[in-house]
């Protein structure tokens, strides 16, 4: 099997698994318990908090453990909205291609009377600092912009946006689920007030994430309960998962430069191979993208059929076609960068990690080429384009 869907989830690293085991086998006490057996788990958890804080440039007291990226996004946005509403500020700035954990939370706030402004991300999939600057109003409560997009991998100008928001005294949250462990993050230097991460995107376990909230930001509970996480997130902490997340993030950050230099070579080779397919296009900026992200559209075919044939060839990938999104519309990300519906249906996302090899990339290039050619050979849409009955949208 060739796994090329690392933006969906990653294989757990051995280090992460090994870091978890003792907290399932031996030190399984409740960190809230008074006795030393429970306190041992608490000490470990606090060590993990220190490590995670260190990786993000934060203080340990600013890290809250959550169930993952979605919960972190929800809590960050709801909290900022509440802080804003107290001062009668109900304007929120974001982008059209955020993750649904952000967009659906913003939808909810919109129904509660908030004014949600989703900025255009242009064909290259990047919002500009000027757009942020121009959108800020006296009643802006929050700016929430993802660090890097989950489908097309484009990296946003986070430091510049952070600077603008800090100067305007507006809370800045970033969904860094795709970036953590893959791109350098320093919340202090980058003026980030809140940041969401999810462990399973960097070889950690599923079902665990963290929210960084700068000291002084009053969080609102999404989950009410006990006094865990300084009263901001009820529920007995998932200590094994927390230990796995911490080990995975430290490992990813320690090896970031080496991993990325390897990944960049693989990514460029893959892009170079796929761009040779006629009437295809790379989605998102060619340079300012995650080192493992390759996103393409192929004219005249549909993405789900492409995925099924790749699966038959042992390749795991994903698509933004309507048939894979479970709705009638193709991916909102591809539509946000201006891809017409027809083109967005023919999308393919391949996301590599440092464990992929050049040999695998060559196999992917060959397989995608074959499958696209085959699907085009049975596509009446493609045939119409070839005979000139319909116009090609993407250049040859």
């Amino acid at each position: 099997m060739i796994y090329a869907d690392n933006a969906a989830t990653t294989q757990m690293s051995e280090k992460a698994i090994k870091a978890m085991l003792p907290y399932m086998e031996k030190i399984w006490g409740n960190p809230s318990s008074l006795y030393s057996f429970g306190q041992e788990a608490k000490d470990a958890m606090n060590f993990a908090r220190e490590e995670i804080a260190h990786c993000l440039g934060a203080a340990a007291a600013e890290i809250y453990f959550t169930s993952g990226g979605s919960e972190s996004d929800n809590q960050a946005i709801i909290s900022a909205a509440k802080i804003g509403a107290k001062k009668n500020k109900r304007h929120i700035i974001s982008t059209a291609f955020e993750h649904h954990a952000v967009l659906h939370t913003l939808d909810k706030l919109k129904r509660e009377g908030f004014d949600i402004e989703l900025l255009d991300v242009h064909e290259n999939g990047i919002v500009t600092p000027e757009q942020i600057k121009n959108s800020i109003r006296a009643d802006t409560a929050l700016v929430t912009i993802m660090y890097a997009n989950n489908e097309i991998g484009t990296i946003q100008p986070i430091s510049e946006i952070g600077e603008i928001c800090r100067a305007a005294k507006i809370i800045f949250h970033t969904d860094a689920v795709q970036a953590a462990g893959h791109l350098p993050i320093d919340v202090k230097a980058q003026n980030i007030d809140m940041l969401s991460i999810s462990a399973h995107k960097f070889h950690g376990p599923k079902g665990i994430g963290a929210l960084y909230a700068r000291k002084g930001i009053q969080l609102v509970n999404i989950i009410e309960g006990g006094a865990q996480e300084r009263g901001k997130r009820g529920g007995t902490e998932n200590v094994p998962a927390i230990m796995g997340m911490s080990a995975a993030l430290s490992d990813a950050c320690a090896n970031m430069a080496a991993n990325n230099s390897k990944l960049l070579k693989l990514r460029q080779k893959l892009i170079g191979g796929l761009i040779k397919i006629p009437h295809s296009t790379l989605n998102g900026d060619a340079d300012k993208r995650l080192p493992g992200n390759v996103s393409f559209c192929f004219e005249g075919i549909e993405g789900e059929a492409l995925l099924l044939h790749l699966d038959d060839r042992g390749i795991c990938a994903s698509s933004g076609s309507a048939c894979t999104s479970g709705s009638l519309d193709p991916s909102h990300v591809l539509l946000a960068i201006g891809r017409p519906h027809e083109i967005a249906h023919g999308s393919l996302r391949l996301t590599l990690c440092e464990n992929n090899t050049e040999d695998e990339v060559e196999k992917i290039i060959a397989a995608v080429g074959e499958v696209v050619e085959y699907l085009r050979s049975i596509s009446p849409l493609w045939k119409d384009k070839v005979i000139g009955k319909r116009e090609f949208i993407l250049p040859a």
């Binding site: 549909e302 993405g303 076609s321 309507a322 048939c323 519906h341 027809e342 049975i378 009446p380 849409l381």
Partner: protein
């Protein structure tokens, strides 16, 4: 459980009657590129019997499988019988489709009916 039945996957992997017919007696095309599926059916009809049928499909796995299955179901059948074909029958022959994919079988039914209408309009 996999997304699709073994039958759907078989017809998707090895579609029957794929291609086109030159000088077809009836051609039907339904769907559109914006929605992500287009089906085109070509019929050869002799003495009111479907003697040959081919299809081309732009669409997902279930769209390709539905077209393939539908062409198998009508080959050799009289036109009057083919006009009774329902998307339900196509779905059942495929051992079912996920709920959000049922429209694929509807497209197959519609494409075949459009091809027969084309034939009938030419042979009035």
């Amino acid at each position: 459980m996999p997304l699709y039945s073994a039958k759907v996957m078989d017809h998707f992997r090895n579609p029957r009657n794929v291609g086109s017919i030159e000088n077809a007696d009836g051609v039907g095309e339904v769907g559109n590129a914006v929605c992500g599926d287009i089906m085109k059916i070509y019929l050869k009809i002799d003495n009111d019997i479907i003697t040959d049928v081919k299809f081309e499909t732009f669409g997902c796995g279930s769209a390709i499988a539905s077209s393939s299955m539908a062409t198998e179901m009508i080959k050799g059948k009289p036109v009057s019988e083919v006009l009774q074909l329902t998307n339900k029958a196509v779905t059942e022959a495929l051992d079912g489709l996920p709920a959000h994919k049922l429209h694929c079988s509807v497209l197959a039914e519609e494409a075949i009916k459009a091809a027969i209408e084309d034939y009938q309009s030419k042979h009035k």
